[in-house]
């Protein structure tokens, strides 16, 4: 047991050390960080990442190879899939997989993505499940550097959107993506709806916007990253100062923002940080039914969130787990997830539900920041953000 525990711990320590060096600042030092990862503030960092960073460096692991495996031999295997708490697929989806392969799948859910990733890092090499669903690009490098996943190049990768393939070593496989965007309640805005996130700091939107704490909420982190991608590493602080003066509200989570301060739950604010798919959900779950969603997204605010699946290092059934990853990319799963989780499928051949086609136009050029940059700077950014917003 000792050896199992030792190497990952050393890895975590190395990862932390490296990220600190990369961030160029100690814990308490919140003076403006002038890192150089993104040169031009208007030019989002290439989503491909940096091969030199520890995140995407060659892990030196042998990829799982199932070409020589007889699928029949895997029948009867029992796999566990771990996911975040809002994971939901329709009844019978995994039964399709079981009929095809004889492999049984049970799902375990953790809490939010951050908790799930922390748990995976804590149990690296001795995982609670065989496959993880749902680690996103903001947490990706943390897990990769900790050696949480085994490399596996799925046979189904050819149908996956190119821009979603972040890990050159295929330790994780993209399964879905979504855009985290500023939403507004169309009828409630007296001035015309904002057209850019810069507008939110203008007086006519004073006390109208509610977002979330980036340290406890994915869309909150999404919005902070949007502002960093938009205004650059040296410009976002000033924007946030103006936003704070303009009376922005910050809640710990999406629910408190959406159903607390935002109009949807009876609040007074007309603009909320949410998802590009939220208007679709507002349409589908309207009571009584409506023809058009009451909300819309502010398109230039969208930060792209990509979610991945990966085989957890230490699994007893790597081949069966690899088959499950293939299945997660199959149309059975990919066409099921939009209406269950309000995300877009990674598989380009998966048919989108009509509501998505009509009311959730895909952002062609969403904001993004490379995962290794996020990993290196996130703590510094959030500390700086906290200082600004609290002042």
């Amino acid at each position: 047991m000792d050896t199992v525990l030792t190497w990952p711990r050393r890895l975590v320590a190395c990862a932390l050390l490296l990220s600190l060096i990369a961030a160029g600042c100690g814990g308490d030092d919140t003076t403006t960080d002038t890192g150089t990862a993104t040169g031009d503030p208007d030019q989002p960092v290439s989503p491909g990442g940096d091969d030199e960073s520890p995140c995407f460096a060659d892990p030196g692991l042998t990829p799982i190879d199932i070409s020589a495996t007889d699928p029949e031999s895997l029948a009867g295997t029992e796999l566990t899939l771990v996911a975040y708490d809002s994971f939901l697929v329709s009844d019978g989806v995994f039964e399709v997989f079981e009929q095809d392969t004889g492999i049984e799948v049970s799902v375990l859910t953790s809490a939010d993505t951050g908790t799930m990733v922390s748990e995976a890092i804590l149990t690296v090499g001795d995982p609670v499940a065989d496959v993880m669903w749902g680690i996103d690009n903001t947490f990706l490098c943390r897990a990769l550097e900790a050696g949480v996943f085994l490399p596996y190049e799925s046979a189904n990768l050819d149908v996956v959107r190119d821009e979603l393939l972040l890990d050159p070593h295929h330790r994780v496989t993209p399964v879905d993506f979504s855009d985290m965007c500023v939403n507004y309640w169309i009828d409630a805005l007296d001035p015309p709806p904002p057209t850019s996130i810069a507008d939110l700091a203008e007086p006519e939107y004073a006390r109208s916007f509610v977002t979330q704490n980036p340290e406890s909420s994915a869309p909150g982190m999404g919005f902070l990253l949007s502002t960093i991608a938009t205004f650059g590493e040296d410009g976002w602080q000033d924007y946030w100062r103006r936003l704070a003066e303009n009376g922005v509200a910050v809640t710990p989570g999406w629910t408190e923002a959406y159903y607390g301060d935002f109009i949807a739950g009876g609040g007074a604010r007309a603009i909320v940080m949410s998802y590009a798919s939220s208007p679709v959900a507002e349409l589908i779950f309207a009571d009584p039914p409506v023809d058009t969603p009451p909300t819309a997204s502010l398109l230039d605010s969208c930060f792209r969130s990509i979610e991945f699946a990966g085989v957890l290092a230490g699994t007893d059934h790597p081949e069966a787990a690899a088959l499950l990853v293939d299945f997660l990319l199959s149309p059975t799963v990919q066409e099921d997830i939009p209406l269950n989780m309000f995300v877009f499928p990674a598989n380009t051949e998966a048919a989108l539900p009509p509501e998505f086609e009509e009311w959730a136009p895909l952002q062609q050029d969403p904001l993004t920041i490379a995962p290794d940059v996020i990993e290196a700077k996130r703590d510094g950014w959030t500390e700086e953000w906290t200082e600004i917003v609290l002042r």
């Binding site: 996911a83 922390s118 001795d126 408190e256 949807a264 779950f285 906290t386």
Partner: protein
């Protein structure tokens, strides 16, 4: 005349038989705590051990600010909760009136509501009352935290102090009144000192809950109000910084142990033997104007504190676009096949909650009763160690316990971390202290002469326990069990554990619904919250009926 005790009954063997019955129970109880709490927590603290982090954290002024604020808000919450709860406890304990059981159940209900729902109700309420506009914005202040803590924990005061109070002989009070003491002076000089054992016991629990409160602080406290608990969560789950989390966990444990040792010392010093009487003999009807006023006051407290936020929930669950109706309740039963909001119907979730809750309650009641007996043991060291050890889980971050289980319970023979029953067991760990404390308080107050009388009448120790201790403690067991049930149904800290989404409970279903945009999602979440309230209230009423049956049979 029956023969005298035979000479050949070797006393040593008799004692050995009793001891043989006792030690396996002690071992089982200690093993339960060791496996499901001590070992996991020790594992995670050991994993995160780092001397430099400890010196960094303890050397930083902001850490001390956080520790101080955590302590301050917990102490203030405890004091407020006791102040608000005592009048209600008094009325429920001493007077007989229509709707008393309902009042007692009503006050228990907040205990099970998910924080996010309560926070929503509070926010909505403060919005309606105009409390969230500057300059009196309540949310985001320490006051909001205190008020919410009173809301959640007042049940602990009312039920545990009330339970103890209801079986206290009222002759000393009568004596004080005849000696010219008014109602208030009687309370201050006679009743309050007699209640001290129960008050201390209750205060310890309320303190622990407030000290480790998570959702309330996170949601109602705003960005500025962080506590040791929220920081542990942030470092452990969002920053993957187990060193800082473990250090803060150590700080948290140290404070908790210090407080508990002080509390236990006080309890020991103030322990008194009380003559107990069946509550029915002590209760009085509400007759005089003063008593009516008292009753009205108690009902008023419950109405404002519990009724108001709950009525907001009810209103929201009924408010459909076309006026008020039961649409959301109906929708819970018929999940859309194409676009389900929940993997199962809302009613199935209720059934799941009840099943899990009863399972956890069963475990907590058995372990808690045994622990209560140990805590009240005349072996003082064992008593105190048991008492403090079983209260520790209430004062430990749920995240650390959950994470600890992941790394500690992963190998045979303790490969438990992904077992289906680990969640009810973890909930039982949190429920045990309630049963233990109510039981040990009751047992300590039993006049030893009752046991002696039974022994001289020929009852061997196990029979003395069955005949004397158990009937008197059974009331306490039921009070504790009701709490254990509420804790389990409310899923305290269960988010830190791995769940099986196929069998969602009501709180997880509510979380899921509230994670969705759309009227239906929000409306159904509110409807499900109301159902949770009603089901819990009904369950608590049933448990109380059980108590009457148990007591009647003896």
């Amino acid at each position: 005349m029956p023969p005298p005790a035979p000479v050949d009954a070797p006393p040593a063997r008799a004692r050995r038989v009793v001891a043989a019955a006792r030690w396996p129970i002690v071992a089982a109880v200690a093993g339960f705590l060791a496996v499901f709490y001590l070992w996991p927590v020790a594992s995670i603290l050991w994993r995160g051990r780092s001397w430099s982090t400890i010196t960094d954290v303890l050397g930083s002024a902001s850490s001390w600010r956080i520790i101080w604020f955590t302590l301050w808000q917990a102490l203030a919450s405890t004091a407020l909760t006791v102040m608000v709860g005592l009048p209600v406890a008094h009325v429920i304990a001493r007077y007989r009136f229509r709707g008393r059981a309902l009042l007692r159940a009503a006050i228990t209900v907040p205990f099970v509501l998910p924080t996010v729902v309560v926070a929503a109700a509070f926010l909505s309420l403060s919005d309606r009352l105009g409390l969230d506009e500057d300059p009196v914005r309540l949310p985001g202040t320490a006051w909001a935290i205190l008020v919410a803590h009173v809301f959640f924990n007042v049940a602990v005061v009312v039920r545990t102090v009330g339970g103890y109070w209801s079986q206290l002989d009222d002759t000393p009070e009568a004596a004080a009144r005849t000696l010219g003491a008014g109602r208030i002076r009687t309370f201050v000089h006679v009743t309050a000192p007699r209640l001290r054992p129960a008050l201390l016991s209750t205060a310890a629990i309320v303190f622990l809950f407030s000290f480790t409160s998570f959702g309330v602080v996170l949601i109602l406290g705003g960005l500025r109000r962080v506590t040791v608990e929220t920081e542990i969560w942030r470092y452990a789950t969002q920053r993957t910084d187990f060193e800082t989390a473990a250090t803060l966990g150590l700080v948290q444990l140290s404070v908790v142990v210090l407080m508990l040792v002080a509390n236990s010392q006080l309890q020991e010093r103030l322990a008194v033997t009380e003559r107990t009487r069946p509550p029915a003999e002590v209760e009085r009807p509400v007759v005089r104007p003063g008593e009516r006023g008292l009753l009205a006051g108690a009902i008023g407290i419950v109405a404002v504190l519990v009724g108001l936020p709950l009525s907001v929930l009810v209103e929201a669950s009924l408010a459909t676009d076309g006026g008020y109706g039961l649409d959301f309740y109906r929708a819970l039963g018929e999940q859309d096949q194409r676009i389900p909001l929940l993997p199962v119907s809302g009613w199935q979730a209720v059934a799941n909650s009840l099943t899990w809750g009863l399972l956890a309650t069963g475990i907590a009641t058995v372990v808690g009763t045994a622990a209560g007996v140990m805590a009240a043991s005349r072996r003082r060291l064992m008593g105190r160690v048991t008492d403090i050890a079983f209260l520790l889980p209430l004062g430990t971050s749920a995240v650390l316990v959950g994470f600890g289980m992941l790394i500690a319970l992963d190998d045979a023979p303790l490969d438990f971390r992904t077992r289906w029953w680990i969640v009810p067991v973890a909930q039982a760990v949190v429920g045990v202290p309630f049963v233990m404390r109510t039981v040990s308080t009751a047992l300590r107050s039993i006049d030893t002469r009752l046991r002696e009388a039974a022994a001289t009448l020929g009852a061997p120790p196990p029979v003395v326990w069955r005949e004397i201790d158990l009937p008197i403690a059974s009331r306490a067991v039921v009070v504790g069990a009701a709490f254990a049930f509420a804790v389990a149904v409310g899923e305290f800290g269960a988010t830190a554990f791995l769940a099986r989404p196929q069998r969602p409970t009501v709180p997880t279903a509510i979380f899921r619904l509230l994670g969705r945009p759309g009227d239906l999602a929000f409306g159904q979440a509110m409807a499900l919250s109301v159902i949770l309230v009603l089901v819990t209230g009904a369950a608590v009423l049933v448990i109380e009926k059980l108590r009457v049956a148990v007591a009647g049979e003896l």
